[in-house]
């Protein structure tokens, strides 16, 4: 009897968030006919694609036990950079690579400061984020970049891969690669160990500094990629283009910490978190709720999920 109860509890903690997502979808389907029908379903996935990609980067930081506040600014910077380079006459491929490298470098630099100098990541990335934000304005002079872009570049954000919009395809690839990297590779294992118990990991011979630098670099890379995708999708770049990702990415990763395992960030969970955010945004918009109520609902859902995690953690500590 108690065994059954225990199993039930375990199932609930592992899959509770996914269950909540299903309930949410059912609720919206009831309120908005055709909510999950093909077209709107695709819509939701397309709307969360960029959020999911940028959140996976942030998830890497959470896994090694660090924070990143710089990623939205890095995304804006790379998004503007790729547009500027292309309008300046550069071919799409080198422009994209250069913009990716910029994001990677920002993350790498933050990682060095965090590990070698010992500045807390919260402060480091606050500063590098502000720097990146300033650089966007320096580069764009505060105006948006408009113009004709080569179709090959626009295909990145607007094209199709078979029947699937390219953004959705890219999102699934990123999520899958991140999940495999974390759970199946040696480096991914080391990153988990670093976040869970740094002292023990170091004693076991793991280079914890390298894991942290890698995580922050990957976050920078994911942010840059998101910025590029955004520019490609819109066909233009705005100096504040990606600033809105901060809160939703935090929310996705935090919600993700309630999926599969309690209290630990994981790439698949982050995807579920992003999906939840997307469903709430889309569903409430279609149901005609004013946009500000979406924020209130999102905030409440985050509090609820984190409360569940904390209570669970407390109970486990009590055992």
């Amino acid at each position: 009897m108690s065994q059954g109860k225990f199993q039930m509890q375990k199932m609930l903690t592992r899959y509770g968030t996914i269950l909540a997502l299903i309930v949410l979808c059912a609720g919206f389907s009831f309120a908005v006919p055709g909510f999950l029908a093909g077209e709107n379903g695709m819509n939701i996935l397309r709307q969360i694609a960029l959020l999911a990609v940028i959140s996976e980067g942030f998830t890497m930081c959470l896994i090694v036990g660090e924070l990143d506040l710089a990623f939205p600014h890095i995304a804006s910077l790379s998004g503007a950079l790729v547009a500027g380079l292309i309008f300046g006459g550069m071919a799409p491929l080198p422009a994209v690579l250069l913009s990716l490298a910029t994001g990677l470098l920002f993350g790498f630099f933050s990682g060095l400061l965090v590990t070698k100098i010992g500045i807390p990541s919260l402060i480091t990335t606050l500063a590098t984020g502000i720097i990146a934000g300033g650089m966007v304005y320096m580069y764009t002079r505060g105006v948006s970049f408009y113009g004709q872009m080569p179709p090959s570049f626009l295909a990145l954000g607007r094209g199709m891969v078979g029947p699937v919009p390219s953004l959705i395809f890219i999102m699934f690839v990123v999520v899958a690669v991140a999940q495999v990297f974390i759970s199946k590779t040696r480096t991914g294992k080391y990153m988990q160990a670093t976040g869970a118990n740094q002292a023990a990991s170091r004693l076991a011979g793991i280079n914890t500094d390298r894991c942290k630098i890698l995580a922050l670099s990957l976050s920078g890379l994911a942010a840059a990629f998101t910025g590029i995708l955004l520019t490609s999708r819109l066909g233009s770049a705005n100096p504040e283009g990606a600033s809105g990702f901060m809160m939703d990415a935090f929310a996705s990763a935090l919600l993700g910490m309630t999926v599969l395992s309690v209290g630990r960030a994981n790439p698949f969970g982050t995807f579920i978190g992003a999906l939840m955010i997307g469903v709430i945004n889309n569903g409430m918009t279609l149901a005609g709720a004013p946009y500000y109520t979406q924020d209130i609902v999102k905030g409440l859902i985050i509090l609820l999920s984190v409360t569940m995690t904390s209570l669970q953690a407390k109970r486990m500590a009590g055992n």
């Binding site: 199946k184 160990a193 118990n197 076991a204 486990m316």
Partner: protein, 498 residues
């Protein structure tokens, strides 16, 4: 044949010589016990052997060759240490923990199946019943300990050190641990076994080395020794002058506690009292509940049962603020974290509990503040360059004086000192004893928690021994140290003789 040999190992920290001229040998297939009081130098020795500290002077040889570890990682394959706090990643499975830092992989991808098989094969050798697929956090305490030991053995070390391995284990788990240790000995592995439980050490070890004050007192054969001999070697008294004892006749009751139990079980059925002019010692092993009792009173824990009085009036408190107003001062164990605000100046620290009196309309009267701070500095002879010196830059002893001195000027009657002499040098210790004596002379009651039994025996007027969050005994002078030690270990001299 000696596998490990140390030659005149010495480790100095600023102001403290934690280990001096330590020489000993560890033979093939030998279990060597290491005993001594807290602060005797046991953990310093372990940390040197494990590559955490580099010795100030002296050397150690492993398999006849001199070793210089640059880092713990360097050491891990030669010297395996089973630490008191188990070095496991909670959510990793048993075999993932075994392989931590030495995983098999190809092209960066983990060879999970091969690792799991290898781990299972390895564990089979020790015929232990551990589910290696469960996350470490879901194993019981005893299994976790076994897993931590297996993780050490998996690296195939030449020497294994056990540092208080039985602390978290039940009697039954202890027995299987001892069986494992004997098994390792039979395989020829030399073992250094550190424990507070003398009966365990006597039962297991072939030879036993006793440390006191960072020095080796003696190495004895276990079959020639008994607990009394070891205790005598551990706590040999020295110079009376180190312990200035004021004789004050005890006055009226200051604080009483009757059959108190706290909600969380951190205080269990405790009855005790402190009289004015009295220094009441609290002895016990680490984790016996001495700090918890003091904090429960000072921080105002909820008590389920029991009654307390302070200065003749019923006492209860909702938090440190109220306790301070009612006349309790606490000098906590963690001087740097809780005793002083390390980033603030000495002047600021010394007036912290008095800001209400030293301010008018919310503004601090800085001259009064400095006046008060300076008087405390003079009274306690705190060595500083000026009131604006930051507390973090002070030596341990001077920091402790600031931690005490900040209560001067408060209406404190009951002074709780939690391990006030830990990590400070001999002269500073003597000054702390003098301060406690002065307080008692002025009619305060002193509640003195210490793990250094010698100082308790010398300074206290009465000693309570705590064990498992209860009072296990009350002792009056002339103190019998062996009786007190026996009471600290409890009948819990675990039943291992069988």
């Amino acid at each position: 044949m000696s596998i490990l040999e140390t030659r005149n190992l010495t480790k100095e920290f600023p102001g403290v010589r934690a280990l001096s001229d330590f020489s000993f040998t560890l033979e093939k297939g030998e279990i060597h016990g290491l005993v001594g009081e807290n602060g005797a130098g046991k953990s310093t020795l372990v940390k040197i052997l494990a590559g955490v500290y580099t010795p100030t002077s002296g050397s150690f040889l492993l398999g006849g060759r001199e070793m210089r570890f640059r880092s713990p990682r360097d050491a891990a394959e030669r010297v395996g240490v089973v630490h008191q706090e188990r070095e496991l990643i909670p959510h990793f499975s048993g075999w993932e923990n075994l392989f931590l830092g030495m995983e098999f992989s190809s092209l960066g991808f983990l060879r999970k199946r091969r690792m799991r098989e290898e781990a299972l094969r390895f564990v089979e050798k020790y015929s232990m019943n551990i589910d290696l697929d469960l996350p470490a956090s879901e194993l019981g305490s005893g299994r976790q300990e076994m897993l931590a030991i297996l993780k050490v053995l998996f690296r195939d070390p030449e020497v294994v050190i056990f540092d208080e391995p039985t602390a978290p284990l039940s009697v039954k788990e202890c027995e299987s641990l001892f069986a494992l240790i004997r098994d390792l000995k039979a395989k020829g592995l030399p073992i250094l076994y550190i424990s507070h439980h003398l009966s365990e050490v006597l039962h297991l070890a072939d030879r036993i080395t006793v440390l006191r004050n960072g020095r080796k007192v003696s190495t004895v054969h276990a079959k020639d020794a008994d607990e009394q001999t070891l205790i005598r070697l551990m706590i040999e008294r020295d110079m009376e002058s180190q312990y200035p004892k004021r004789s004050v006749s005890a006055g009226e009751e200051l604080f009483t506690m009757e059959r108190a139990s706290s909600r969380k079980g951190r205080v269990r059925d405790v009855s005790m009292h402190v009289r004015r002019g009295e220094i009441v010692g609290f002895a016990g092993l680490v984790g016996a509940g001495r700090t918890e009792l003091a904090k429960a009173v000072f921080c105002g824990s909820r008590f389920e049962e029991g009654r307390m009085t302070l200065a003749g009036k019923p006492f209860s408190s909702r938090g440190p603020g109220e306790s301070i107003r009612k006349g309790i001062a606490m000098i906590p164990e963690n001087r740097r974290e809780e005793g002083v605000v390390a980033d603030m100046t000495v002047g600021e620290n010394l007036v912290l509990p008095l800001l209400k009196q030293l301010a008018s309309l919310g503004f601090l009267r800085s001259r009064q503040c400095d006046l008060h701070a300076n008087s405390v500095v003079d009274k306690l002879a705190i060595k500083i360059s000026g009131l604006s010196q930051e507390a973090r830059t002070l030596s341990g002893g001077n920091q402790q004086k600031v931690s005490v001195g900040k209560w001067f000027g408060t209406p404190s009657d009951l002074w709780i000192f939690d391990e006030p002499t830990q990590g400070i040098d001999v002269d500073a210790k003597r000054e702390v004893y003098t301060i406690m004596g002065d307080l008692a002379e002025r009619g305060a009651g002193v509640w003195f928690i210490s793990s250094d039994l010698r100082e308790l025996l010398a300074i206290a007027d009465r000693i309570y021994v705590m064990k498992d969050f209860r009072i296990a005994g009350e002792f009056l002078p002339p103190f019998d140290d062996e009786e007190i030690l026996g009471s600290m270990m409890g009948e819990g001299l675990r039943n291992v003789a069988g």
